[in-house]
Subunit: 340 residues, 2 copies
């Protein structure tokens, strides 16, 4: 008989609420931590989260919320971490001793940590030093609203420990949500992080009126750069050709619901980056990720023409006219000869 | 100084006309062969091809047309072949002796030859036996109408002979059209061919009301099957992660202009395959390609769940309800463990 778990979800945003709903649909008892009292009250009393979802999206009965992090963590057999990535390092550091031992800690937040200039998978050992907590990365093409509406969704679970990966897979999969496992944690994380800046570039192209031929060329060459980046920094290149790579990239760069693409469209229309960031209620993770990535590119002199161009444009070093996002003016090349 | 070529284009359909226009924009003298007198007359007299393009699309002055295949071939320094793939084998066989020696013959038609059950690259040696004609495959994300409108477009040129590939690359690239080279001819061809059935599957999902999460999951897992297929049958797996793989797949599966996706949408709406084929003015190459691919899958017992499901559904062996295109009901798996 299947044993149902107590699943703690950290973060009552759109993705946290959606993954909590998946866990609840799998039969688990879900408790979402949110520091926003209004969200906690609404989830517990109306089974809704109207800050992020329409009024007709009803949350399962076995999903509740709490603003007490100790209560949520202490009872958890499994944790899903879905708070904004740039707040995550300090958050985990503050609460690390409350995380139960020997449970899977699934990170669903995506991006490079701006202050540490590292991925989660890189800081995890120091962050959880001396604690036995396996971390997994959950990533894949998954708009939160579509998960809520039970549209079939497929994601990757990256975890070094195969048994933990399978445990998470079996406990978070049901008929409209399917998890694949892989041991390339960093590759999965790189895919989830770098797709966001690429979506900004795709949005810029769309914003200046370009169409499918151009956007898909940009995205294809962008994924190639991402796969080389993964191969160079400790992940596998191939992982970028899976769900957390091309799958998520397609969704984010071509799907109409993407926040990061929207940032690109607004940039192309002449809006200032600061104004865009101020007026966005949800965070577009692509910008801080791009800022760190751009520093990597310059520091290690990486041959990543699309991401480098994007970085220079977003930083204001070049104009839109000078930027050549699909690298049409570069020397003609063999398709697979980039060396980063 | 750049030498301008005489470029013969075989086929006055949308893609032939678009590639002829690219060649003309590169400065070459282009002669399009079409057996449709009306098309020939219109191209030569009005610089338009209104069977395939809107009235405001004007063809370059250095592009003309002829219904005399001997005239077109005899003067060509380079040939672009863009006639429907299922007519191509017999066409080349009939006219092979008219093809000048030592020229690049660029095949832009996409699909598996239904009668021979083979790819072009496989039949080329026997088809051109004793003749010195290098064949290239041109493929990549490229809607013809966007090429005509000068939206930047990037494609792969697959050719075993690196010098020929570079020659074609330099003669067909200009500021809004860029060619990359690769020596994996068969891989490029497999990408161009198999993306069409996958687009039918994507259309089916769209037709039954599914959204981005589901379509991108299907496409990601479908590309994985394509890459395994390429690796097994003599191409490289990696090639499917390039322009003629994921690039073209994204365009065809997610772009709104795709004929093959439209076939899938109509199938999902309950239209009969025969009726769809009859009423389509342009050929959806995905259907014959799928029929050959399905036979391969069964003959070699290939583990390609998405393509196999699609084949069985299109053949009428299973209903839409029985088909499970995103394989949600299969056993939970590692992301990279399919073995075909």
């Amino acid at each position: 008989m299947k044993r149902f778990l107590n699943v703690g979800v950290l973060g009552g945003g759109s993705f946290g609420t959606a993954l909590g709903t998946v866990a609840a649909r799998c039969g688990h008892n879900v408790n979402i931590f949110s520091k926003t009292e209004k969200t906690v009250h609404e989830i517990n009393n109306s089974h809704k989260n109207t800050r992020f979802f329409p009024d007709d999206i009803i949350l399962p009965n076995n999903l509740k919320a709490s603003s007490d992090i100790s209560e949520v963590l202490s009872k958890s057999d499994m944790v899903i971490h879905a708070i904004p990535v740039q707040q995550s390092y300090d958050f985990i550091k503050e609460h690390r001793d409350k995380i139960p031992s020997n449970i899977p800690y699934i990170i669903a937040s995506k991006g490079i940590l701006l202050k540490q200039k590292k991925f989660f998978s890189e800081v995890w050992p120091e962050l959880l030093e001396g604690r036995k907590v396996s971390h997994c990365i959950l990533s894949g093409p998954s708009f939160a609203i579509e998960i809520m509406k039970k549209y079939p969704t497929v994601v990757s679970i990256g975890c070094k420990d195969e048994q933990v990966a399978k445990y998470v897979q079996h406990n978070l999969s049901f008929k409209s949500f399917r998890c694949y496992t892989t041991d390339d944690v960093l590759g999965v994380e790189i895919g989830g992080a770098l797709k966001n800046p690429l979506a900004i570039a795709a949005g810029i192209l769309e914003g200046i009126g370009l169409k499918y031929n151009t956007v898909t060329a940009l995205v294809t060459r962008g994924i190639y750069e991402m796969s080389l980046f993964s191969g160079k920094f400790g992940g596998r290149s191939d992982t970028l050709y899976g769900l957390s790579g091309i799958g998520d990239v397609m969704l984010t760069c071509l799907g109409s619901l993407s926040r990061n693409k929207a940032v690109g469209i607004k940039l192309a229309q002449g809006q200032k980056l600061d104004d865009i960031i101020k007026t966005n209620s949800e965070v577009a993770e692509g910008i801080p990720t791009l800022l760190v990535l751009g520093e990597f590119i310059q520091q290690y002199n990486l041959n990543m023409p699309i991401f480098h161009t994007l970085y220079r444009y977003v930083k204001g070093d070049i104009t839109l006219e000078e930027a050549d996002f699909i690298i049409m003016s570069r020397q003609l090349e063999h398709e697979w000869e980039l060396k980063i």
